[in-house]
């Protein structure tokens, strides 16, 4: 299996605070990977490290085996659309396509024009005057015109209305089918990710909490409802990710590795259930202490 993006004990520090720490994962080439986590978890930092805009303070990040910060030769293989799809707002879409040709050794202007033409984007209007959805489509078309092997998208649909969001994801999925580009896409919209992504990377509090193939993650997690449980091992359960209790009953989201003890009612989970469980666990205690209220 080819590895598109690999991190080994990767860390990045801003002043005294680690924005990313001990981060290790491998993303297979050809996959569409969802990057999930609360604001401030380190998603943008990770993407900026992967595109060589930041230098790691610890460990290593490699794109197709090369370090993007030290080895600029790998940069033509990486496409990047930053948050809120920044573009030179006074330029028209047609001018941006032309400009891209001057700034990139490999540049498929015909591809960009064809895509923008199909989407009905006006070529002669400054992109600052386009709708948010159209601007996002221009940014995507420009990123794809580089014919990157790895495309990094930082919350590309966060500020779009539902229709523009769907259209953006449609053209992304269509063009990825054609090009076979590996995609790493950060988003808060879990339902979108469930459909679009085959791999998932969950960050929380500067660390990787979960990484894996979506089908495996959904297949190995279950919600269990049963008698009050106080941490003793349960047959068939590898790890309890999140537990909620009432006086008599416990509801667990767990990683299962066999036939679960029949005392428990077992429910299938969606990817969203799994993500929420990993994002939610163990976060509340410190907050309660900070506010000086009892846990």
């Amino acid at each position: 299996m080819d590895i598109a993006l690999e991190a080994v004990q990767l860390g990045k520090r801003y002043g005294r605070r680690w924005a990313l720490q001990g981060c290790s994962f491998r993303l297979p080439a050809g996959g569409i990977v969802g990057l999930v986590g609360p604001n401030g978890a380190g998603k943008s930092t990770l993407l900026h490290l992967a595109v060589g805009l930041l230098r790691p303070d610890a460990g290593d990040v490699r794109v197709f085996g090369r370090s993007p910060y030290d080895d600029p030769a790998v940069l033509p293989d990486i496409g990047f659309v930053a948050q809120d799809t920044p573009l030179y707002r006074d330029f028209t879409a047609a001018e941006l396509v032309q400009l891209g040709g001057r700034m990139n050794a490999r540049w498929d202007a015909a591809l960009a024009r064809e895509r923008l033409g199909q989407l009905g984007i006006p070529p002669k209007l400054p992109v600052g005057k386009l709708s948010g959805g159209q601007r996002a489509q221009v940014a995507l078309a420009l990123a794809l015109a580089k014919r990157p092997r790895l495309l990094l998208l930082d919350e590309p649909v966060a500020s779009l209305d539902p229709l523009a969001r769907r259209e953006f994801l449609q053209s992304l999925m269509g063009s990825v089918t054609d090009s076979g580009t590996t995609v790493l896409l950060s988003s808060h919209l879990l339902a979108d990710l469930e459909r679009a992504c085959d791999h998932l990377l969950v960050l929380r509090a500067s660390r990787v909490r979960l990484a894996g193939a979506v089908d495996d993650l959904v297949a190995t997690h279950r919600q269990l409802v049963g008698p009050r449980h106080d941490g003793e091992p349960i047959a068939g359960v590898g790890a309890v990710v999140r537990a909620r209790h009432t006086e008599r009953q416990s509801t667990l989201l767990a990683r299962v590795d066999g036939v679960v003890d029949p005392d428990w009612t077992v429910h299938d989970v969606t990817l969203e259930d799994v993500i929420l469980a990993y994002l939610g666990d163990g976060e509340t205690d410190t907050t309660r202490t900070d506010w000086e209220v009892p846990a």
């Binding site: 050809g30 994801l169 999925m173 269509g174 339902a191 459909r195 679009a196 085959d198």
Partner: protein, 137 residues
């Protein structure tokens, strides 16, 4: 050509939903041998889903021998599902209609009927499977 529809609320895997829709179309005669399935790119784009999901569904159908991929052309139906088409099952259908009327007279709602059919189907399949296993042991 069929068009795929996804049930966003379903907990059934997307690729399984695609497989089920192809099989359903084969059962009711919407798809016949020689028909082409929608192109992977078109499905991925129109549903905004991962192309690998579509490929996975088509691959499973291929393994089951229902479709075949022709490189550079597309994916085509090879054969229909085993068993006669549902349209030919007039007798069974008449029995079912009579049974459904009895169920309604007995006070069953459509939800009750579906629940009864599903539990009975599961129980019967399990019992039959156990019997076959027993016989072959």
């Amino acid at each position: 050509m069929i068009e795929f529809v996804l049930d966003a609320r379903s907990k059934v895997n997307t690729y399984v939903q695609l497989i089920q829709q192809v099989k359903q179309a084969l059962r009711v005669g919407l798809l016949a041998p020689g028909d082409q399935l929608p192109k992977v790119r078109d499905v991925a784009q129109s549903l905004a889903i991962n192309p690998n999901t579509v490929l996975k569904a088509y691959r499973e159908l291929e393994i089951e021998g229902l479709v075949e991929g022709r490189p550079g052309v597309g994916t085509f139906v090879r054969r229909t599902l085993g068993g006669p088409p549902l349209a030919d099952q007039a007798d069974l259908r008449d029995d079912l209609v009579a049974w459904l009327r009895r169920a309604r007279t007995a006070g069953l709602t459509p939800e009750d009927v579906i629940a009864l059919v599903e539990t009975t189907l599961r129980a019967t399949l399990a019992a039959d499977a156990a019997r076959t296993e027993h016989a072959s042991a």
